[in-house]
Amino acid sequence: MKVGVFVCHCGSNIEATVDTAAVAAAAREFPGVVFATDTMYTCSEPGQDEIVNAIKEHNLGGIVVASCTPRMHEQTFRRTVERAGLNKYLFEMANIREHVSWIGKDREANTNKSVDLVRMATEKLLRNRPLYSKKFDINKRVLVIGGGVAGIQAALDCADGGLEVVMVEKTSTIGGKMAKLDKTFPTVDCSSCILGPRMVDVAQHPNITLYAYSEIEEINGYVGNFEIKVKKKATYVNWDSCTGCGICMEKCPSKKATDYFNEGIGKTTAINIPFPQAIPKKAKIDPDFCTKLTKGKCGVCAKVCPSGCIDYEMQDEFVTEKVGAIVTATGYDLFDWSVYGEYGAGRYPDVITGLQYERMLSASGPTGGHIKRPSDGKEPKNIVFIQCVGSRDKSVGRPYCTGFCCMYTAKQAILTKDHLPDSQSYVFYMDIRAVGKLYDEFTRRAMEEYDTKYIRGRVSMIYPKGEKLLVRGADTLMGSQVEVDADLVVLAVGAEASAGASELAEKLRISYDSYGFYMEGHPKLKPVETNTAGVYLAGACQGPKDIPSSVAQGSAAAAKVLGLFSKDQLESDPQVSIVDIKRCIGCGKCIQTCPFGAIKEMEFRGMVKADVIETICQGCGICTSTCPQGAIQLQHSTDNQILSEVNALCQF
């Protein structure tokens, strides 16, 4: 094989600390290399044309590009060599940017290391074989996990695009966090008025199947052909016949159940529909509080239900759904602020979270839209908002900015004045982060038109003083201490990854960061893709996000799914393991070690052999290193190819 080598400057990214011309000169001496040069930007159009021309001019059979990480441009250059008529696997990349120039300043050492990497790539390339993809059919259905605003957007866009959608929601209603909000910033329009119709659309769309109060139990398969096991949790109410009339709720004698939807402001009944606009509008029993289920006594709901749908014996049920793509939209949860001893750690009833305050502001909330102190039900006069509770605070392990608290605090301050014109709001803030269309104007309005007192500084202590709460903090602009007699304190509690996010990530085989937020394929260029083909992200599961960004991502994920499904067949990656039947002794070790269940037993002329299901194999290579016979080989990374790289590196 005649090999051509291209050493990229990447502007000054590589050239600044690597002598690329010297690397190219060294490469010219390698066995098989007939052409080597250095170029300014190999990935640019002239750079790629140079490769195409060199292949034609020098009749090259394979190409090595020494530049950035293959994650960045391997696909780019594979297409380039394909354009010149070569098989795209007759191409190798040496990463001399992330692995060399960006991490070392010694130009001579960097140049030597780059030469080594190019030599390794060349030796491997000499043993590369043309590989060809196979085509397989795909199932054009999509699973959306999570029924918040991001999931709703993704589901509706996919369904409107003609796809069949399966939506799985953990709680008994869709709507997510947005359904709990009273108003939205910066327009102060009613949250349920804009979300409600979208929720109804989900329920009524002929293409959408909704599993509420359900969770993902198991995910198998691969892009185009996933098999999902869904656990439908027992609701103790037959939803096929439940009409959502609410009589059971009126009559239920167990009225002390935790009201999760209202964030614990007030109590609900053991059998409940979370809120009047719930979708689906079906009742479910909270088994922790139902006396029939805990003590075996009661049964009132079964007596009063006009359609006879109460079933105390109901068990969890499992259903299987086949889909071709998955949109993950599992959202966020609030940080557990009780670690803040200085704010009372939950001891003071009149210190509440922003989401609790939101429920209080809502006309359909437990207080009917009246702002009341939880302790005594009185109207507060002085209300203190504290920002960055569980955001930008390394001491509680949350160094990141949640991003939307500055805005919702400003909104709540404005709404407070609307509800209680005689009230005075104070906001303790670190910085005001109002980056977005009409956002900064909005926070200015809270200050200038609604007379909210913004105090730049942290609160050091809250303690009860008579009926009031004394809030003490620093005013870092004035350089003084501030004390405010507050009637109510609202904490702008930050967001963290939703409970169970990491467990779901492992089922999806996608990666997550140290806080549990899911990792996108590329921080700039692949914002809704993951590193697992066919799995996409939408909304705050990828990182804290406000409503517009979540909705944008929901639509983006839907566009990706529609793009994927625009073809009837997908090409499989030929970089999979293949069994050499002559060598295989049928020991089955590869079957045991394969994490994807991609290898099965087969019979060949009366003998047991291993067989790889190519569409399931992910090309990890574990079987290759397990096989005692060297019979199973990962294509494009065979033992011979890896050894040739090692030899190239260790020849001196």
């Binding site: 001893g341 200085e342 009372g344 750690a345 001891r347 202590m461 303690y463 009860p464 003083k465 008579g466």
Partner: protein, 301 residues
Amino acid sequence: MNTSLNYAYYPGCSSTGTSIEYDMSSRAVCAALDIKLTDVPDWSCCGSTPAHTVDHSLSSALSARNLDQVASMGLDSCITPCPSCLANLKTAKHRMEDEGFRDKVNNLLDKPANTKIETKSVLQILVEDYGIENIRKKVVKPLTGLVVGAYYGCILNRPAELMQFDDREHPMAMDNIMEALGATVVPFPLKVECCGASFGIPRKDVVMRLSGKLLDTAKSIGAMALVTACPLCQMNLDMRQDQINHANGSHHKIPIFYFTQLLGLALGLTEKELGMNKLCVSPRTLLDFMVNEENIKEKAA
């Protein structure tokens, strides 16, 4: 119950003067609970506030010498009633984990100090080693009728990483002990606020303001008395109570006990053993009131 609790005891300088009743009552309580204390031989000042405001290595050298004296007893830990001594001894051990700093300190000493000695407060060992339930069993004269607030001061639990005891914002150790002794404990909202500390000397007005606020708050929640675990807090609230009243125009007459004094009382020790007569704001009326309440309760029973 572990009946063989043995500790090296570091009294600290104030125990020989301003807080002698804290020392007396600590020793008496430990004796009554069969906790054996052995004084650190030839102990000296821990450096207190003046040393570390001038020179960290000097401060640590003074503390390290005492820790080394503990090591010479063949022990690996000691206890002290005073939070300020506690902070200094613990800080010295922590700082001397750094090799460079350790060398600097050892240069100031006759011989390199043992840096492995742990220090705990008397309060901590009573709660953690002896146990509140065991204290409850030993009560012979419950503090009937006493409504008390527990005031910890700002350094007993802080910095949390160093002190490793109770909650830094909402400690409960003394509240729980007082409850076990039969007193009615009212949550004291300013339990970790600063009393003004040694500002009593250069800036008396600061102490008047800060300690004044503590007394005002104690009164507002209906506390008949406060318990403390710190000689400086106790001094500012007790000895300076008249000055505070004068400066702020208030009329407080709130007895400020060391928690060990009330603990001793409940264990049946005499007022004399506990140094009750050393308090500036006389607890006489309150002590008689408690006896009276207990009598009424017994008669009723």
